[in-house]
Amino acid sequence: MEAHAFRGDETLVIRPGALLAVAKFLKETPELDFNVLMDLTAVDYLFFAGGRVQKEFRFEVVYHFYSLKHNHRLRLKVPVDEKDPEVDTLNDLWPSANWYEREVWDMFGIQFKGHPNLKRILMYEEFQGHALRKDYPFNKRQPLIGPQN
């Protein structure tokens, strides 16, 4: 969809449907050889720039790749819709994606299709909602014990 570089950091923005193919290409092409998944996180653009910037999608899943052999990096962004927030899991290509994807599910509520164990990793099972979504009230608490404060 889009490619740009900012201060030497290359970024690709791709459609969710192309994620698995692109990721496989990045990992298995010898000249690229991105063998490390450095980070996997997400961004909620609901009130981005104070609501002045309206994006056609709500979330973006961000992948940071690194190649030990070539010492180069790449950032991959996948826009995700609010109605059906789901992308493919990268767990089969980079096993480190397992916990990252669980964290993104826990905090943003983005599903990862094909993930072997997609459950909360930081919050407790009784927690309702997803805490880092911008429409989650930042000081809303769901205590397990003690008063509702």
Partner: protein
């Protein structure tokens, strides 16, 4: 009064005072360390500041064998049931020290994860605010705890956020998010 200071050498005190005297110099503490306050706790416990001078140099890592619970560091809602269980497992008489401002009031945290003061879950005897508190501060709190133990006093009440009772008045003057927003708006 302490029977050691008696000029005649006779024990003319009450048994309660003797018990208090014995208890305050043999504090078996349970360090419930969860966060950065732990560093300052270790510094206090180590030889330079030396809590052993106050008879509290013997941490027990079983709640059944300890009589003072040191809650050192932020308590999250996920951790809260564990803390409550630990407190329930301790034998009477028991005391609780809230070490650091996160355990006293929640500190600067005001979010989905943090318990706003452990006194909403378990009764607290001594509050040691600070982020983290200096070792001198901790030792001051420890000496205040010793006074409390000597008198045989124990806290039994929880903090109620609706009525705002059960917490020292000094700790009530929090910095609310409304104040914070007002502060930002007046600055910009």
């Amino acid at each position: 009064m302490s029977f050691l200071s008696s000029p005649t050498g006779f024990l003319t005190s009450k048994i309660k005072d003797a018990l208090g005297w014995a208890r305050k110099y043999s504090i078996f503490q349970y360090p419930f360390v969860t966060a950065c306050c732990g560093m300052e706790y270790m510094s206090t416990a180590a030889s330079h500041y030396d809590v052993d001078r106050f008879g509290a140099g013997f941490p027990r890592f079983s709640p059944r064998q300890s009589d003072v619970l040191f809650v050192v560091g932020t308590i999250s809602h996920k951790m809260a049931p564990v803390l409550k269980t630990i407190h329930d497992q301790m034998c009477e008489p028991k005391w609780v020290v809230a070490f650091g401002v996160c355990t006293c009031t929640g500190g600067f945290y005001d979010n989905y994860a943090t318990v706003m003061g452990i006194d909403t879950i378990i009764p607290v005897d001594i509050y040691i605010p600070g982020c983290p508190p200096r070792p001198e501060n901790v030792i001051d709190g420890l000496m205040k705890l010793q006074e409390k133990i000597q008198k045989g006093e124990q806290s039994r009440t929880l903090y109620d956020p609706r009525t705002k009772t059960g917490r020292p008045a000094e700790l009530q003057q929090g910095y609310s998010i409304e104040q914070h927003i007002k502060h930002i708006e007046s600055a910009s």
